[in-house]
Symmetry: C2
């Protein structure tokens, strides 16, 4: 396996717990110097460029490049960073990612006065910026990799059938979603219309979805492409995975339920998928890698690896109703769950998705599927949290929710570390539901 | 509805049966002056550009533009045609398509000596060119719109279940495929590997697919994008549909059969999808439009239109085994079918795909699903032609085929007209199966 090379304790160590930043407020924040996620931003009427989040600020990598800050480290830095998408940088591959991260880490590290002066001019308060879609999505694939979610969904959506399909423990079930409707955090989500068949009815009706749901997911993004006709062996997946983002795979359960046989979800998903505007590089996640779960029965050879491709992330869903907005109340946290227990890992997902010879391209987004845990309150979607709407959730404003209502604001959050280790917060995914 | 405007008998009529071209061999060929399909080609080491097929030649639209041939008719013609993809031209919309087609038709029309001289310099023998992927695919959607195919597939793949799912007559069932593995005609298809579960076995095995199949389909390509959050009403679909191409949606039936529950096809399809290198504009198909079939039960309002969105195309599948290649024999035609009877039309497919608010982008490819007819020999895939492999097809070299073997060459052909009307041949789709 090719993990991102880094040497603990060396000058190129970017994840050490003892690293501190000179940027005010960075230490102890989710965007600490051990994190350094990438995004694309604009400031006033300037053209978009690539930046790194640090505390409440963004380091403008195009400005760093223009000032010669990547000289001798990152070839063609202007072309990689003075642009409106991460794709060129993602395509450049692990050695460029590593060189960039090492240089950025040194620029932002406490105790380097020269670097401090050089970087200060390229630092912009986040409040003065607007974030954009961080990368152009090539293909979007959504998996179904949580055992608890797959089991719960099977019971709720296909009562009477086997809870898990016979293939589920042998391969990471997945399908293609709509790349063209992947939107950045903050984009309003307009309630989809479509066909649904009311309970007991013979014929469908068409109208606004009545069962609009969230799906709490973690996605990974492809850097260098692979070649058509051959697989990406599981030992090599790390050469292609740039980083991760939170994903809200909004779902209209009534549309999905009516349309999905025999070819799977289509319009119940294709209206919108939201991703965080910050992409956390794999390198930042090295300290939080954990072994994947024991898989029984054993999986086929092409899905086997001894390397720790699980990720110890804490995830949560926040929901803020119009009543809570009116009362100035924050989000209710309606689910808290963990990513470490996902049955299928990113490495297995990528090895599987290419075993047939399908190639991947820079910007391909592979999402985990809904992340659900085994206990009440750890389910990653309302379908499960409310038992298909039969047990609505009480909210702090006195209202209840079976599914999303117009005006509801949803936020997905993810974090790792803490308890003496650096604490990283993934970019949030916000979205407000609006009527058409 | 917005059909491409054209006035029969006027100078802008591009489909009249009496039109003749001065280009030798064009009249009576499938690339006659009434056709004028678009593609992207290179010649020697020159950069790619957009061209129009006429007889055995290509009219280089970038050269026409450089010589001022689109002056006063097509703004920014250089930007549209001196490029490696049809996307800018497709995005320009119906008025630009119409102006371009009218100008090209006049340049190539018999009886216009000045135009003849101007165009002759931009005419290149096809034998001196190499064709490229004609457009960059944004999202790829595959439908399931043939009643005969859906019925046959239901019987063969899901014996014991209802032949048609309950939704089938209410909406055009579809799903997203992999845009990144759509390849131009002529690209070899490397036999996919993957998981399949042998009959009677408990556990799957991984290896080369043993049930590699073709799917004969017709796709349409999107020009101008639509807006996220709102539908494309069926009366407006013609403003977004640029043209059509033949599609071979190669399928590994054994991989597909094992993986598809509950979320639909994934690796059984994602290894390759072939499209013709020539895109036939809707304007060329005006004379061949026919009413869609009677739909019973009646469909919901958003799927209703009085306009004739059926297309009277003849389609066929050719298969050439290694034995036939060795003997110098041509393809066997293993299926002949028609497109006019498809249950769901392009217009309904696009209206449905956007009813939920999903937007379309320039380059989106929507394929029909396998085109099958009601009689033996009119099925659009081997699964149906051979009754899931139980009745192998005899070939002219004495061999038989249940599914594709390494070395097999497949060609899809499509045509319309004849019998006194102009005869158009769609761009063919070739592909040779190769072992990994």
């Amino acid at each position: 396996m090719s993990m991102i090379p880094h040497a603990n304790g060396s000058a190129d160590d970017t994840t050490g717990a003892d690293l501190r930043s000179w940027v005010e407020g960075a230490d102890g924040s989710g965007f600490c110097i051990q994190h350094l996620p990438y995004g694309v931003f604009t400031k006033a009427d300037r053209s978009p460029r690539v930046g790194v989040a640090i505390g409440d600020a963004i380091l403008d990598l195009a400005a760093v490049a223009a000032a010669g800050g990547f000289a001798d480290a990152v070839p063609d830095a202007q072309a990689l960073f003075a642009t409106d998408r991460l794709n060129p940088f993602m395509a450049a591959g692990p050695s460029v990612w590593q060189a960039t991260r090492a240089r950025v880490s040194r620029l932002l590290r406490a105790g380097a006065p020269d670097a401090h002066r050089a970087a200060a001019e390229a630092l912009i308060p986040r409040s003065e910026t607007t974030m954009r879609m961080p990368f152009e999505v090539a293909d979007y694939v959504d998996f179904f990799s949580s055992l608890d979610h797959a089991s719960n969904a099977g019971r709720l959506l296909r009562p009477g059938a086997a809870t898990l399909s016979p293939n589920w423990r042998h391969l990471p079930v997945g399908y293609h979603g709509r790349a063209g409707t992947v939107v950045p955090s903050g984009t309003p989500v307009i309630r989809p219309h479509g066909q649904r068949r009311p309970p007991g009815a013979e014929a469908p009706v068409c109208g606004p979805s009545r069962r609009l749901d969230v799906e709490l997911e973690v996605g990974f993004v492809i850097g260098p492409p692979s070649t058509l006709g051959g697989p990406v062996p599981i030992e090599h997946v790390g050469e292609h995975i740039f980083g991760i983002a939170l994903v809200n795979d909004w779902s209209a359960r009534d549309i999905q339920g009516w349309e999905s046989q025999p070819l799977g979800p289509f319009l119940g998903k294709s209206f919108a998928t939201s991703v965080s505007v910050w992409v956390t590089p794999l390198a930042a996640l090295e300290p939080f890698r954990v072994p994947g779960p024991v898989q029984e029965p054993p999986v086929l050879d092409y899905l086997r690896t001894d390397h720790p491709w699980g990720l110890d992330l804490c995830l949560e869903i926040g929901l803020r109703s119009p009543g809570m907005v009116a009362g100035g109340a924050p989000h209710d946290v309606i689910s808290r769950t963990g990513f470490a227990g996902m049955y299928w890992t990113m490495a297995q997902q990528l090895a599987h998705a290419t075993v047939n010879g399908a190639s991947v391209r820079t910007g391909d987004l592979f999402a985990s599927g809904t992340v659900s845990g085994p206990v009440r309150g750890s389910e990653g979607c309302l379908l499960e949290l409310t038992r298909a709407g039969r047990e609505p959730l009480p909210l702090s404003d006195g209202s209840t929710r079976a599914f999303l209502e117009d005006g509801d604001e949803v936020v997905l959050r993810g974090s790792c570390g803490g308890n003496g280790r650096p604490h990283l917060e993934l970019g949030e995914v916000h979205g407000k539901v609006m009527a058409r």
